[in-house]
Symmetry: C2
Subunit: 146 residues, 2 copies
DNA sequence: CATAAAACCTACAAACTAAATAGGGTAATA
DNA sequence: TATTACCCTATTTAGTTTGTAGGTTTTATG
């Protein structure tokens, strides 16, 4: 299941995508609008900034804003950043790889093979869906990739 | 990520599948062979029994055994039982459905739609893979469904 | 320059979940 | 009838997620 943090990130990013013309938007405004704890959201936006997805401006009139087009921000990137690995096993993760302690040989491990398939099927969706797909008002605008 | 409980379940089931000719197998034997805490494994096997996957025999010479063919036990069933929902959002879960608190309307929610796709892609793998695929010694025996 | 407003940073507390342990109860069988 | 091993409940331990607190730095502006 996706964590609250991840869901909050999607909500916040959607808000920023839908209000790009405003320029910098206050944490406060997003938090109130999406019903998220101000301080908790602060941490999330900071992470998104460090990951190069958001920009920020300090001081009066400051706030956060997108520094990429919504079409360039994949769901996979957000999920990996805030939710952690997409794969079901560490030995199958592309971004958080770790050797499985209980598996002697990945090459011949049947579980490994199957979990690779699960990972690839999942990625086929989330690597090809972007923030733009989340904010599209009509299903017509959705880009079905498969 | 799959929980330890889930991985233990797969290990135990594999052991039982590979030792079907033995009849009832001691918890102790599985725990030792797969390096799992005896008591923890006891709980897991009990859950699998209640779910109709395992049978048991009490008293001397007792133990656990499969009551279905390995080909009839899907990975999806085991994962749902021990790991919980396969879906990434409660509003998209087939077996653990719950309305999302922050979503006003599933029918028009873009996230809902995308998460359905993720779920279906995942299920396409784990509903069609069984315990038999886990214990197959050669990759030749694997049944590739896509 | 002074001030207010806002992001930034560090640390911690509370709540929840997963993992493991303990100890006994109950049923079957040699 | 004693032994063996499943069955059940509760508790502890550890780890993660979620949320809170307070201070620091930057910047626009009067």
């Amino acid at each position: 299941m996706l964590s609250k943090k991840t869901k909050y990130a999607f909500h916040a990013l959607s808000y920023l995508a839908e209000n790009q013309e405003k320029g910098a938007v206050l944490i406060q405004e997003i938090a109130f609008s999406k019903n998220i704890s101000h301080k908790f959201l602060e941490n999330i936006l900071l992470e998104l900034k460090k990951a190069g997805i958001l920009g920020s401006k300090k001081g009066k009139g400051g706030g956060y804003y997108l520094i990429k087009k919504p079409e360039e921000i994949t769901l996979a990137k957000i999920i990996r950043l805030l939710n952690g690995p997409i794969a079901w096993l560490p030995c199958v993760s592309l971004n958080y790889y770790e050797k499985c302690s209980d598996c002697p040989d990945e090459a011949t491990c049947n579980m490994h093979l199957i979990m690779c398939q699960v990972r690839d099927q999942t990625l086929a969706v989330v690597e090809n869906k972007t923030l733009a797909d989340l904010t599209a008002k009509n299903t017509d605008k959705q880009t079905f990739k498969y």
